[in-house]
């Protein structure tokens, strides 16, 4: 579907809830070895140290610093290359830690233009034997890219009532609530969920995180069938673990290498949204104006016939 994107300034809105640790600007990367793909056992990449990164930073924020709008190809490119410097890397020998993040279930709940996207994410940690690992704190980062036809309301996500479990939620991209989809750009929602402290020390058969994201449909481009189908794919997941250094916070990211992800086999949910029908365009306009005209004439007639200027004639 072609879009007529009006280039909009990136609208970044986020809510900051109470963080467990302070944010620093100059952070040295940690030496971690765990990677988190979806579905697969992760790979281990090499070590790297990075400076000047913000421990609490949103991934999508750095995406939008480099790109104007959200496209799948740019995003995958970003994940593969830009984030590689932030990865936890390190390969001591005899190290076999299994951490797995997978999407157990993805579904759309509700009817009509306002629904909830429910995703269930499982985090599994295999046998861990990392004697030199310091005390750490991990958070799971889930990035849900939304297609053009739907949006998430950042103000709704601020409601503390529903979103107590999340450390942070933010919406990036086009958050205009009013424009139809062919005048909008895509957006993405980033969740940060507290995975707990020192989780890499112990085996974990599976912690589940349930995300319920309220979504709203935009007005769709016209369609002959009267409906437009919008597809929402699985979220991208990463894990970030941080350690209290002497002066700074140190953290790094885990993600699966891009070629491991088989996007085409990922599950998607389809949302059928009503759309106007082009066939109606002709007669709707004509009848609208004829009705307006008839109304006008009746009011004009009534005013002139029954207004005070004619009273003296009775």
């Amino acid at each position: 579907m072609s879009s007529h994107p009006q280039l909009r300034l990136v609208d970044i809105m986020y809510v900051t809830r109470t963080l467990h640790f302070a944010r620093n600007n100059h952070v040295l990367r940690m030496k971690f070895v765990l990677l988190v793909p979806s579905f697969e056992e992760f790979d281990i990449l090499s070590f790297q140290v990075e400076t000047n990164s913000d421990a609490g930073k949103f991934i999508m924020k750095s995406y939008f610093e480099n790109y104007e709008s959200l496209h799948d190809s740019s995003f995958e490119d970003f994940m593969a290359h830009q984030l590689s410097s932030s990865l936890c890397q390190g390969i001591p020998d005899n190290w076999n830690v299994g951490v797995r993040l997978s999407v157990r279930e993805l579904s759309l709940i509700g009817e009509g233009s306002h629904r909830h996207l429910s995703s269930s994410i499982r985090l599994q940690i295999g046998a861990a034997s990392i004697p030199k690992l310091p005390a750490h704190l991990c958070e799971v980062i889930v990035i849900q890219r939304l297609p053009l036809g739907v949006f998430a309301d950042p103000f709704e996500l601020q409601n503390p009532h529903k979103h107590k479990a999340f450390r942070d939620i933010a919406v990036f991209g086009d958050t205009n609530l009013e424009l139809p989809s062919f005048q909008s750009n895509r957006s993405a929602v980033e969740f940060h969920i507290d995975a707990g402290s020192n989780i890499l020390f112990m085996q974990n058969n599976g912690t589940e995180f349930n995300l319920l994201l309220p979504l709203h449909a935009r007005y769709q481009p016209l369609d002959e069938s009267g409906y437009s189908v919008v597809e929402i794919g699985e979220p991208d997941m990463l894990m970030r673990c941080s350690v209290e250094g002497k002066q700074h916070k140190q953290s790094c990211l885990f993600m699966s290498p891009p070629n491991e992800k088989a996007k085409s086999t990922s599950a998607t949910v389809a949302w059928k949204i009503p759309a106007g029908m082009k066939a109606h365009a002709g007669f709707v306009s004509v009848i609208t104006f004829v009705t307006a005209l008839l109304s006008t004439l009746s009011i004009v007639y009534a005013s002139m016939f029954w207004s005070g200027t004619n009273v003296s004639k009775t």
Binding site: H4, D11, E111, G112, S113, H114, F155, H161, T175, N176, L177, E178, P180, F182, Q183, Y219, P221, L222, G226, Y227, K272, I273, P274, A275, G276, M277, K278, H280, A281, V284, S285, I287, T288, F289, T291, A292, L293, S295, T296, S298, I299, V300, A302, S303, M304, W306, S307, G308, T309, V311, S312, T314
Partner: protein
């Protein structure tokens, strides 16, 4: 019920509104569906931005004057319900002003009381203020302007008029009738204009009318267009409007101009609403509408307004009412909060209406509510059940326009048209050309 004193009515209304606000707060925190209007949250956010020295327009969808955010600044440090209390208080003022206006025109007590009740206990109106909508303030100011005008206080009326047009653009439609209304035969410097009293006798009303009709009304309007009161009114209201706009433009720049003013003038919302134009706009959104098309959609509004003004300007209050009903009905976007604009003037014209509640009045009410409910049912199917009922929804909006037109015509038919003012006795014998 008829023996209720106005003070008690206002007190009961106040208590009722306070109760609603508290219930609303409870509902917001404990239930899925919020009581508070989304707009109220927008105002509050903008107000807290303003309180911290930033531009309120940083808050998306804030499309009002910075004055509103300024009024709501106490939301941040007194209570987040401050705004709701302010709006509900304006609500009560509207009830009070209704009584003042009717009493000045010597309307009997029981009719005054009914009129007050029609406003204060109308479900549309008490929910609007308690949900956090700012329209009651606009209504209160419009009624205050009417009070100033009928007391001959042109300067104050002009000041408030300039302010209210800055605040909410729609009162600009009242500019021409007010100017026509400031007839030099009534507004002479030094003397307060004489009000023509309410009378239940239609014969006497015709007598009052004929005094004025004998003279050529159109000729007079043309000859004495630039009188002192008219010039004064135009200058003062224009100055106030420009000062306010200029001041806020200086503070907030183009963003203020776009969001608070230009947006309202060029607004075309393709999302479904009561207006008959919504589907036409949606179907043609992808292509630019030609100038001719835009003109054609503006023409009905323009013609109706002009004819209503020329026919009813002397009876200013009735003119305000019919203009507002027509304005809302023919507008490109209609939302429920716009109905308050004419609900506040309705109690002021009912004492002059020949229509009885049984059964014509009741029929009108049921017809209006029926057309609305019909639209809402299709809207529900579209928005909450996801069915493509655009065509049916559009036809429901056509029916709603038809209902509005019919009720407007019926009200015009049954109205005892009577100019608000009568002439001073010494002018009666003067012949004007």
């Amino acid at each position: 019920m008829i023996s209720l004193k106005p003070r008690s009515i206002l007190l009961i209304s106040a208590i009722f509104r306070v109760g609603l606000i508290l219930v609303g707060e409870w509902q917001d925190t404990h239930m899925e569906v919020r009581y508070t209007d989304v707009d109220y949250l927008v105002f509050s956010d903008a107000a807290s931005l303003m309180a911290s020295g930033q531009s309120p327009y940083k808050r998306t969808t804030y499309r009002y004057s910075p004055l509103l955010a300024f009024l709501l600044i106490p939301n941040s440090f007194i209570s987040r319900c401050w705004g709701k209390f302010l709006f509900s208080a304006s609500d009560l003022f509207v009830g009070l002003f209704i009584r003042i206006i009717l009493k000045q025109r010597k309307v009997p007590d029981d009719l005054c009381t009914y009129s007050m009740l029609i406003w204060l206990f109308n479900p549309f109106t008490f929910t609007i203020g308690t949900r956090g909508n700012c329209e009651p303030i606009v209504c209160a100011i419009i009624l205050w302007i009417i009070i100033c005008l009928i007391n001959g206080n042109v300067v104050q009326a002009a000041f408030w008029y300039g302010l209210i047009v800055h605040f909410r653009i729609y009162p600009i439609i009242y500019a021409l009738p007010i100017v026509i209304f400031l007839d030099p035969r009534f507004f002479r410097s030094g003397t307060k204009p004489l009000l023509s009293d309410w009378t239940s006798d239609p014969g006497k009303a015709r007598e009052i009318n004929s005094e004025l009709i004998d003279k050529c009304v159109v000729c007079d309007v043309w000859k004495s267009t630039f009188t002192r009161s008219r010039i004064l009114f135009g200058l003062i209201s224009g100055t106030v409007f420009l000062l306010c706009t200029g001041f806020f433009f200086h503070l907030y720049g183009w963003e203020f101009l776009h969001e608070a003013l230009l947006y309202h003038l060029t607004r075309t919302d393709a999302r479904h609403n009561f207006s008959i134009y919504f589907y036409h706009i949606y179907l043609n959104y992808e292509r630019e509408l030609s100038v001719l098309e835009k003109l054609v959609s503006f023409l009905p509004q323009f013609i109706v307004q002009l004819v209503l003004i020329l026919c009813f300007a002397k009876d200013l209050v009735f003119c305000f009412f019919v203009q507002t009903v027509a304005f809302v009905a023919f507008n490109k976007v209609i939302t429920a909060q716009y109905f308050v604009w004419f609900f506040c003037v309705l109690p002021l014209i009912l004492p002059w209406s020949n229509m009885k509640l049984k059964w014509k009045g009741l029929c009108c009410i049921l017809l209006w509510m029926g057309a609305q409910t019909h639209w809402l049912l299709w809207g529900y199917l579209l928005e909450f059940k996801g069915k493509n009922v655009f065509l049916q929804l559009w036809m429901a909006s056509l029916l709603f326009l038809a209902a509005n037109t019919f009720i407007l015509i019926v009200l015009i038919r049954h109205h005892n048209y009577g100019p608000v003012f009568r002439q001073h006795t010494d002018l009666k014998t003067t012949k004007t050309t």
